[in-house]
Symmetry: C2
Subunit: 427 residues, 2 copies
């Protein structure tokens, strides 16, 4: 062990191995997506007895689009990916877990370059066509040569049907793998869209320690793909929060191999092309599902919480109010205690700094109106609302009464287990 | 019990009655300040068996200055005080604990008006010269007639030497009363400055559930006093955070009776008058002491943490970075676990959105340099720094390497006890 840990993965994947109560009952069986192959390895970067290295080999002609953290102290792999997203050509993806290669100085950048070079040689592409992502400890120097020698074997043995293994290899504090699938009619053909992600703590707008990799055989020009991913991330991964903390490593990448064109799917070069609509909708649905898995695996959670804000000055204001509610420690602990403490919702609305009309403010917990017109609702029954709070999934809806702005964000409660995972790790 | 509670005062003042390990060993003996008298009562507003009502009677000619929360959903008493601060004449102060009279609609405003009227009659001033503050449950209708009938007796029996009782009557989740004193040379005379405050949770910039009342016999014109209080609150109460949450009720009021002029102290009408300097310095020192007491009583704390940021673009940027560090749940839990997890400091710097040069960033935990020039410091010894983390008072210093901006803020760790106080209240 030793070193400075960002993730107490031992807690959640080790001896106790508790799985989030919100984990899906089963993982989807994802079919082959032409042009995408995966291989994983136990490189021992930090973890023992589990996979921690993923290589995806992508067919020539694949394009990549993506978004990365807005952190001002982002990791070396994030800086690398941003540069490659400017051209968007892709031949391979390398992901390691156990070390984030963040705040590792020039040596960290060298580790990325070494990785890209080794992967390029193995996958038969140029280093600039290799995307790299790392997750795990911040500040620990990463020795890429501990795993670069494995890449040629991985490229040789990569298979198109090992999605679940790929999703597992990128986990850190995650208690379950996060994998989702959509089949999308496009023109007279059909394309497949699938992906996986990881993330459980340090989750906040602008994505926090969240890696998400999406793959499709659709034939979509890179600039169109980039617009789609940016807009969709804004409504999905940028609308979830666990603890309001933002990681140095967030990365969402979508790779499109274009191979569905061989089977009659259209080639899309214009963002306004109506043939794109079902794909855009499926992408939103898929990213929404994956983003919610991140919240549903929030460190130590016991409740999954949806926060809906309406009546704000505009959508941006609504989102700020929603995040003020979703990130309030004092409200999140009340939810953990199954306490319908709507006074703390009022507090969080006021704290956001956005316009709200105190005398028109209304608050619902699930179907129950608890406050309206600036005071407690006349029909409010505390036993009834306290009963509602015993549910695993809670919705808090607030009408701030000044305009038509709306937003929905997703979060979880703040529990003893969150403190244990993040504090008691060494004891 | 029943009702919606913002404060689980029963936890901290009731059966367990644990006192913060950072409580001062003793309370100061505050002498009479000419023109100020106090009386307290057990009004049973919410609490039983303790005082929950404070009346301060102020001599004619007293002026008031103050600052209030920036919450957009502030309480009825805050709205009232803001209006009276426009003229700044003062004759009485009424404070109740147990009910914040916040989010209580028109009836809440009526409760303030009834209180001011009763206090004015009792103290012999006009209702507009009465300042009102309430702290406790949000959203619970407050029936002021439960205590207004007590005010005339309180005014008749008010005494100048009951400071400690006054400080106790305004407590909610506080585990110790917060009282401080300064004697200040002014011109050829001497003035006294004393005050008390309350606050333990929902503490963040713009003051959160924090009430602070300061009294002096100095003779200072209201506009001068107002400038002093605003500037000093910005460097003291606006630089502390417990949980990043902002209350609806924050109020800092400074009352100056002017009676020291009878004993030769100067009358100050100009903010640039050099005779004011020692008073300004004492006010800063007093408010600093009281603000730190709030953090040192932070709900469930086990560590008192000072966050110093230097090298930022400007002071405003430094403050934003410092608060990003001070409010990070994942860092605060690491501190509770005595883990020198400086990777989370890097994360918090990046999250702030302010300029920072990753390759010039340096971090100290106490005297120990843990990172510099964008990576772990060569001499870093984890056992040594882990040993430092066992201290009760921790200092985190960060040089972000881009400019000359500086800020210092104060916070505490995030512990199991915080979750218990705010979540397990009903169980």
């Amino acid at each position: 062990m030793g070193g400075l840990t960002v993730f107490s993965w031992e807690d959640s994947l080790g001896s106790t191995a508790k799985v989030s109560p919100f984990a899906p009952a089963s993982l989807p069986e994802v079919p082959e997506i032409p042009g995408v192959r995966f291989a994983t390895a136990e490189a021992g970067i930090r973890y023992q007895g589990r996979t921690d290295l993923l290589l995806a080999v992508l067919t020539p002609g694949t394009v990549a689009a993506g978004v990365t953290t807005r952190s001002k102290t982002c990791s070396a792999p994030v800086l690398w990916c941003r540069r490659q997203l400017e051209h968007g050509r892709a031949g391979a993806l390398v992901v390691n877990s156990g070390n984030a290669n963040a705040f590792t100085g020039r040596k960290g950048q060298e580790a990325v370059a070494i990785t890209a070079e080794a992967a390029a040689k193995s996958a038969g592409c140029r280093p600039e066509e290799v995307y790299v992502a790392s997750t795990g400890v911040i500040g620990e120097p990463m020795d890429a040569t501990r795993f670069t020698h494995l890449l040629s074997d991985l490229a040789a043995t990569a298979r198109p049907d090992t999605w679940q293994a790929a999703a597992r290899a990128i986990m850190t504090t995650d208690t379950f793998p996060k994998l989702a699938l959509r089949r999308v009619p496009m023109g007279s053909g059909e394309v497949t869209l699938a992906g996986f992600c990881k993330g459980a703590g340090m989750i906040a707008p602008d994505m926090a320690t969240m890696l998400c990799f999406l793959f499709t055989d659709a034939a979509i020009a890179q600039p169109v793909l980039q617009r789609l991913v940016s807009a969709t991330a804004d409504r999905t991964f940028n609308c979830v929060t666990v603890d309001g903390d933002t990681s140095t490593s967030d990365t969402v990448l979508l790779f499109a191999t274009g191979r569905a064109a061989e089977r009659g799917a259209p080639e899309v070069r214009d963002a306004a092309d109506p043939v794109l609509a079902p794909f855009a909708e499926a992408l939103h649905s898929l990213m929404h599902e994956l983003a919610l898995y991140v919240v549903k695996d929030g460190e130590g959670l016991s409740k999954f919480v949806t926060v809906e804000v309406l009546g704000a000055e505009d959508d941006r204001a609504a989102r700020r109010i929603a995040f003020s509610i979703a990130n309030s420690p004092i409200l999140k602990t009340a939810i953990a205690g199954e306490d319908p403490n709507w006074g703390r919702v009022v507090m969080a609305v006021g704290k956001s700094g956005e316009a709200a009309d105190r005398d028109r403010l209304a608050i619902w917990f699930g179907p129950h109106l608890v406050a309206r017109e600036g005071e407690r609702a006349p029909g409010y029954s505390e036993p009834v609302v306290a009963g509602y709070m015993k549910n695993g999934e809670i919705t808090i809806r607030v009408d701030v009464g000044v305009g038509a702005g709306r937003a929905t964000v997703w979060t979880c409660d703040l529990t003893h287990a969150y403190v244990s995972i993040n504090a008691d790790y060494r004891s």
